[in-house]
């Protein structure tokens, strides 16, 4: 069964004033373990679609399912709780709680989920180790580089053991080296732990890493291609 399935998703912003058709009849399916990139020119609706996939926003029409749950029929409160247990997020910026250390940021989501404290601590350590920040556990976001912050965000997303991770332009604020490192990390998680990723990007080098590339133009599905991803083993 598909992890994500959408059926004719439409999104119209400002329907009563100057309507913007941000999504037009988008129907897609994403399977478990995919490494999918969402591409398209600026304003093509990538963020809008990711918001629908992540149950952050409601479509104007159409439906979407995550697993067997129709998220488009959930209330605001139900969606928040659903996100907590099923979806991992990596945003372009403002990912982390500034007053928390890396470890606290990773632990926080597990606390929200009600995981027991001992497991939380062990798991947070393990995840930070995995994303290469074992020695920066007690640093606050302001003491970390942009790339390191995004890695903490990936660790946080993984911590909640979600069905998939959504990342809206996760590399947009990073320099090339940091961007590639983050992609390496995501790719490794995908290869080794079968973590499903859907990420949007403008960056050709990032696109080349994806196994599947979905292209949006003017809010409509333009193409949906499989490709042989460029895999960089053991980077640096």
């Amino acid at each position: 069964m598909a992890v994500i399935r959408t059926e004719k998703l439409c999104k119209v912003y400002n329907p009563d004033t100057i309507p913007v058709h941000a999504l037009r009849d988008v129907s897609i399916e994403i399977q478990k373990g995919e490494f999918t990139s969402l591409v398209g020119p600026s304003g093509s609706g990538k963020t809008t679609l990711l918001n629908m996939l992540g149950a952050l926003d409601m479509p104007s029409s159409g439906k979407s399912w995550i697993g067997d749950v129709e998220v488009t029929s959930l209330t605001d409160k139900e969606r928040i709780n659903f996100r907590l247990h099923n979806i991992g997020f990596v945003f372009q910026h403002y990912n982390l709680i500034p007053v928390f250390t890396a470890k606290e940021n990773v632990s926080f989501i597990m606390l929200l989920q009600g995981v027991d404290p001992k497991t939380i601590s062990e798991r947070a350590d393990e995840l930070l180790e995995q994303v290469g920040l074992g020695d920066r556990k007690d640093s606050r976001p302001s003491q970390l580089s942009g790339g390191q912050q995004q890695r903490v965000a990936v660790a946080r997303a993984l911590a909640s053991e979600p069905q998939f991770i959504l990342a809206d332009e996760p590399t947009a604020n990073l320099d090339t080296k940091a961007a590639m490192n983050l992609l390496d990390l995501m790719q490794k998680m995908n290869e080794e732990q079968k973590v499903t990723f859907v990420f949007s990007t403008h960056d050709q080098r990032v696109i080349s890493r994806a196994r599947r590339v979905i292209t949006l133009v003017d809010g409509a599905l333009y193409s949906d291609k499989e490709q042989e991803p460029k895999i960089v083993l053991e980077p640096k």
């Binding site: 918001n51 247990h85 500034p98 989920q113 946080r156």
Partner: protein, 406 residues
């Protein structure tokens, strides 16, 4: 949830300037509220006690019409029976009889209208604290013939000194005018310049001999062991005796009652103004905190933190600040009230004229436990109320705020 407390606590330290200002506002608001109330409370109490202790006492007996018409022939007809009755009652601490007359005081400089109070120096001393107001000379116990005590203000106006003479002119009980020369034995100063200017004190025997051919008393002032018994003792006196009227201090000086009510209202007003200023300060700074963190809140909601927790996180921040502020505010208030209750607050430099209208210039602040608690509760409630709106705004944040660029 402990984690919310941790975030709230760290968020407080995040913007030290703002949190500090908020904390200072709570501390100062609480202190100012408590201190104002205690200052006004002390002022009222001192004023009332002064009036009661130095002259009014707890209850007084007069001819029924005397207080309105103040005619010299409206004296108490049955002084002896009343005296016997009063001496029997164990609720009564002491009492004193007074002869009263309105008259003219003449000195070589000028003439003034005065109220002449004839007292029995022995029983007066037991009943009132008037003798404590004496600044110069001696009380009426000496053997100076026709001795008189005058107020400092009056003495200055007439350029009179101890040992000098003055003439009092007044109406006799038979309607004739009478006058007598009096020798200044002492000069007093009460808290009220107005009082000092209008009242002179003589021996009741001296005044009576000039006033009438028989014994007359216009006023009996009674000091009780417990002021709370005033009402029923007054009722009993009125019930037992004809041709007189007893009244409690409260009825005798309705302005004191008005003062208490007015004082209460002023207190309410002042505290409300302070609290409103406080509430707006808090509202403003919490809203600023909200706008600064709106993307972060969007992120928290996106990853799955419930709106209720976001709301609580915000409220907790205000609650922690309020509790810390309240503790320091209470401490500051207790310390400063204790200090000034011992040393007094001298208002002379701020309000030169208040002594003229009979208010004390050195105030010993005092506050009841209820008033104190009431203000603390108001401050805490105000802070929390003022943070409800920003917290509610935080509750309503759209998770997609995180995507908005700076």
């Amino acid at each position: 949830m402990k984690i919310l407390l941790t975030i709230a606590w760290r968020n407080i330290w995040r913007n030290k300037g703002r949190s500090g200002a908020l904390l200072a506002a709570i501390i100062i608001g609480l202190w100012a509220g408590v201190f104002t109330v205690s200052l006004m409370g002390g002022m009222l109490d001192q004023r009332i006690n002064f009036m009661i202790e130095s002259e009014i006492t707890h209850l007084q007996i007069h001819h029924p019409d005397y207080r309105i018409e103040r005619a010299v022939d409206m004296f108490i007809p049955n002084t002896i029976e009343i005296r016997e009755w009063l001496e029997e009652r164990e609720e009564i601490h002491s009492f004193t009889k007074r002869v009263l007359s309105d008259g003219m005081l003449q000195s070589p400089v000028k003439t003034s209208g005065v109220r002449i109070i004839g007292i029995n120096e022995v029983s007066e001393r037991k009943t009132t604290t008037f003798h404590e107001n004496l600044r110069k000379g001696s009380y009426l116990e000496g053997d100076i013939r026709n001795a008189i005590l005058i107020g400092e203000k009056l003495a200055n106006d007439h350029r009179l000194e101890i040992g000098q003479r003055l003439v009092l002119t007044f109406e006799r009980t038979d309607g004739e005018l009478s006058s007598g020369a009096f020798n200044i034995a002492g000069i007093f100063r009460t808290g009220s310049t107005q009082y000092d200017e209008r009242n002179v004190i003589v021996r009741s025997s001296d005044l009576m001999s000039l006033l009438s051919s028989y014994e007359v008393y216009h006023e009996i002032a009674v000091l009780l062991k417990d002021v709370d018994n005033a009402t029923y003792i007054v009722e009993e006196i009125n019930h037992n005796f004809e041709g007189i009227e007893a009244k409690t201090w409260n009825e005798l000086s309705p302005e004191l009652g008005t003062l208490v009510a007015l004082g209460g209202f002023m207190l309410f007003l002042v505290t409300m103004i302070i609290m409103l200023a406080l509430a707006f300060g808090i509202l403003n700074s919490m809203l600023m905190a909200l706008f600064e963190r709106i993307r972060e809140i969007g992120m928290l909601l996106s990853i799955g933190m419930s709106r209720l927790r976001v709301f609580s996180m915000f409220i907790l921040e205000a609650v922690i600040l309020t509790i810390v502020g309240a503790i320091f505010g209470i401490l500051l208030a207790v310390l400063s009230i204790n200090f000034f209750a011992r040393n007094g607050v001298n208002l002379e430099m701020f309000a030169g004229g208040i002594e003229e209208i009979g208010w004390p210039t050195v105030i010993y602040p005092e506050i009841t436990a209820e008033e104190f608690t009431y203000i603390v509760i108001i401050v805490i409630l105000m802070t929390i109320l003022a943070s409800l709106y920003p917290a509610w705004k935080a509750f309503r944040v759209n998770p997609m705020e995180i995507e908005k660029d700076t």
